[in-house]
Symmetry: C2
Subunit: 160 residues, 2 copies
DNA sequence: GGTAATTAAGACCTTTTTAGTCCTCTTTTC
DNA sequence: GAAAAGAGGACTAAAAAGGTCTTAATTACC
């Protein structure tokens, strides 16, 4: 139940590019140094992000990586799934029809909902959001007013 | 980013005990057969649940396992964490103070919130809930009116 | 008290995944 | 054409997942 390093590094790396601005080519080396990520590992990760159309690469002298789109249009979920594959809390939620008996078991329904909640927040948080000042980000994330705003949400479950 | 088989089996196994009722000793063998879980693997899992005070064991002839408390007082989160350890989306959220630089990085704040949402639903769903008819469970889970009820929540993000 | 049935405990095993590295291309700029 | 990037693929070590197996310790019942 943990995000892999690869996924984590992908988000950090992409956020790093977001901070540099669109169109500015940044070398792997620079990103690695800034975010403390092993160089050849990040190279692999950025390769995958390139294929996924999230970043663009430029070879040769003065080459590097840059975001393929404005950072406000790239969600954290998108980056994560480009590396880890589609988010699935349970193997049975990846490919359906593996339910051995369609009787009264409701476990996958619970998993689906939990997963949905994660997708909700990850899918509505963009790289641009992550580059904003901490206080602002916290307020946005915890306020619960995502892009379909529905007021401040209850925080009564803090202790759970 | 997946729940392990052990965690999954733990919930299924405990739910199976919940269906039999409090105090009724059920042998591992029976649970395994019903839920399609390898016998010796479930034995290990139930052993851990026993130590965690979630189930009670009885050795010898006519022995078996039973829930240690009413099923309505045992949350899915509790069972899951007894097996997998405390839920943590990122290694850095398990033990704090591993933040190499406390600068403007807000990634862990996002992870914390995502994790919180999972705890919210897993922590408010009990084994008793899982034994109820499917339609009823779905309604409860998706309605969003958990034990601190705050009305039906927006489902606009269905497509995310 | 003996025996059969049941869980407890821990050592052990195999496969898969994670977290990388390394080497050889290819592309691009100067 | 030389130097400086990334692309691609093969490879690897360590850890985690997903179990099994064997030897106890209990307990009910005859
Ligand atoms: S809902 Fe229950 S029976 Fe169906 S696939 Fe999920 S765990 Fe298995
Ligand atoms: S908030 Fe950012 S810098 Fe701090 S531990 Fe998390 S990822 Fe690292």
């Amino acid at each position: 139940m943990q995000i892999t390093r690869a996924g984590e590094y992908a988000i950090m790396g992409a956020t790093c590019l977001a901070r540099r601005g669109l169109g500015k080519a940044v070398m792997i080396h620079e990103v690695c140094k800034e975010e403390h990520i092993p160089r050849s590992f990040l190279a692999k990760i950025f390769q995958a992000l390139t294929k996924a159309g999230i970043v663009r690469s430029q070879r040769g002298i003065r080459g590097g990586f840059t975001l393929a789109r404005p950072s406000a249009e790239i969600t954290v979920l998108e980056v994560l799934e480009a590396i880890e594959g589609k988010l699935a809390f349970d193997r049975r939620l990846q490919e359906p029809a593996s339910c051995h008996d369609t009787h009264a078991c409701t476990l996958c329904d619970l998993f689906t909902e939990a997963q949905h909640r994660v997708r909700e927040i990850m899918g509505s948080t963009t790289l641009a959001d992550l580059t904003r000042p901490k206080a602002e980000v916290m307020k946005r994330i915890q306020g619960g007013n995502l892009h379909n705003g529905n007021g401040p949400r209850a925080r009564a479950l803090q202790t759970i």
